[in-house]
Amino acid sequence: MISFSLQKTLHTAEGEMQLQVNAQVEKGKFVSLYGASGAGKTSILRMLAGFMKPDNGFINVNNAVWYDASRERDLAPQQRKIGFVFQDYALFPNMNVRENILFALDKNEPRNIVDELLEVTGLTNLATRKIQTLSGGQQQRVALARAIAKKPPILLLDEPLSAIDNLMREQLQDTLKEIHQRYALTTILVSHNPREIIKLSDIVIHLEQGRFRQQTTPALFFQNGGEASKITGNIISIDKNGHAVVLIENRLVSLPVAEERPAVNDKVEISCGDLKKLS
C-alpha cells in the first residue's frame, strides 16, 4: 500500500501552480495518472521516486516512511526500491543492452534475471547491441527491463510510450501488462492516452491544475462523456451523394452526413452505430 500527501509549488509555463494531492494505492494495482500537460503528473512521480522534494506532506510505502516533512525524513532515491522508466528512456550509451540491465544488479545478486528479462521483453537477440542502434520501441523495452531488474515492488512510468508509433505501442502495452502481473508490481503510469489507460489500468486518477479531481475505474471515467470519450475528426472532402471523408486520428473513414451539412475542414463528432464482431 502506498499512501501519500504531497504539496509543492511548481513553476510552470503559465506561472506558479500549487500542487496539492493525496491518494492511496493498493498493492498490486495498476494506476494511471491522467491529465493535460502541466497538470503536475510527472512532478508527482518524481516526488515519489525521490528526485524532487515536496514542500510538505508524507509518503508511506508498506508501513515504511519514505518522506515526512514533519519528521524531516527524506529517503534518498537509492533507498526507495522503485523502478523508474523515463520519458527519454535514460539508457546509458556507454553500455550495450545486456550491460544496461546488468548495471542494476549488485555484485552478489544472481545474474539469471537478466536473461529472463531479455526474453520477457523480446530483446534476447539484441543483447549485445549498442543503445544508439536501437529503435525507440526497443530502447523503451531495455528501459523497462532495467527498471525491474532489481525486482522493485513499485514501478513508476513517466509517459513511457508517448514517442512510439501505434503498432509498437500496442505491443509494448502487452509487455507492460505482462510484466505488471508476472512480477506482482504496484504500477503508477503517467499518461494522457485514454486508449492506453483503459487497456492497462485498474484505476485512473484525473489530475487537473495540481489537484486530484476524480479517482475511479477507466471504464467509468471515460464513459461519462468526458472529452476523451468522444470520437472526433476533420472533414477532408464531401461527395455528391452526401458522404463525407473524415480523418479520425490517422485513418480516413467515409460516413453519411446528417441533415445539417458541414463543410470541408469542419471538426465533427461521430456517434457510433451498431457493433459488428470481427471474425
Partner: protein
C-alpha cells in the same frame, strides 16, 4: 649547445599539473553541475578568473603570497620548512591555479550536456553518487575529458608570465622551455631559441592532431 633540461622540466611540470588538476577538476566540475546556488556561481567565477587575468597579475599575487616576508609564506617556512618562491613546487602550485579553468570548463560542459535523467536512473537503481560518476557520467563524456587533459597540458607547456614571476629563471629548477626561448633570444642565441621554439611548435601540433583524430573517431562510433 642545446640543453635538454628546460624541455624535461617543461614536460615534468605539464604532466604533474595535468594529473593534479584532473583529480581536482572532476569532483569540482561534478559539484558545479546541477542545481545552481549563489555559492556555486561565486566558485565558478573564481575558477574562470585565470582566463581573463593577465598571467603576470596571478604571478604577482602568488609571489606575494609565497614570499617568506609575508604571513602565508612565513607560516609555510616556519611550520613545514617549505619555500615556494623560485622552486619547482611553487611553480607547480601556480600552474595548477593558472590552468584550472582549462581542465574544469570542458568537463563541466560535458557533464552539463548529459540528460539529468541518466543520473536519476542510476540513483533509482541504487547506485551511489560516486558509482554514478565513475560508471555512468564520466564514460559518457570521454571526448570532453580528453579535451580537458590536452588543453591543460598544452596550456601549461606554453606558460610564461606566471612561471617567470614565481620561478624566475633558474637552470634545471625553474627554467622551462618557454623561459629558455626568451633567455636565448635575449642573449642573441637565435639558433638555440629556434630549436626550442620548433620543438614546442611540433609538440603542440601533434597534441592537437591526436585530439581531433580521437574525437572524430568517437563521433563516428557514436559513442556518446
Amino acid at each position: 649547445m642545446i640543453e635538454l633540461a628546460p624541455l624535461w622540466l617543461t614536460l615534468k611540470l605539464a604532466l604533474s599539473t595535468t594529473l593534479i588538476l584532473f583529480i581536482i577538476a572532476v569532483p569540482l566540475a561534478n559539484w558545479l553541475t546541477g542545481d545552481k546556488n549563489i555559492f556555486k556561481v561565486i566558485v565558478q567565477a573564481i575558477v574562470s578568473m585565470p582566463l581573463v587575468l593577465p598571467p603576470t597579475v596571478i604571478g604577482f599575487y602568488l609571489l606575494l603570497a609565497f614570499s617568506p616576508g609575508n604571513a602565508f609564506g612565513k607560516w609555510l617556512e616556519e611550520w613545514f620548512n617549505i619555500r615556494l618562491v623560485f622552486s619547482f613546487s611553487g611553480l607547480l602550485i601556480a600552474s595548477v591555479i593558472y590552468s584550472l579553468p582549462f581542465m574544469v570548463h570542458p568537463i563541466h560542459s560535458g557533464l552539463s550536456s548529459l540528460s539529468p535523467s541518466l543520473k536519476e536512473a542510476s540513483y533509482s537503481l541504487g547506485k551511489t553518487k560516486w558509482q554514478t560518476l565513475m560508471k555512468v557520467l564520466l564514460p559518457n563524456i570521454k571526448p570532453s575529458l580528453l579535451t580537458a587533459i590536452v588543453l591543460t597540458f598544452a596550456h601549461t607547456v606554453g606558460e610564461f608570465g606566471v612561471v617567470l614571476m614565481i620561478g624566475g629563471n633558474m637552470p634545471g629548477k625553474t627554467r622551462t622551455a618557454s623561459i629558455a626561448i626568451y633567455d636565448e633570444v635575449d642573449a642573441y642565441h637565435y639558433y638555440n631559441a629556434n630549436v626550442y621554439a620548433g620543438i614546442l611548435l611540433a609538440l603542440s601540433f601533434v597534441i592537437l592532431l591526436i585530439l581531433y583524430t580521437f574525437n572524430r573517431k568517437m563521433q563516428q562510433a557514436k559513442f556518446y
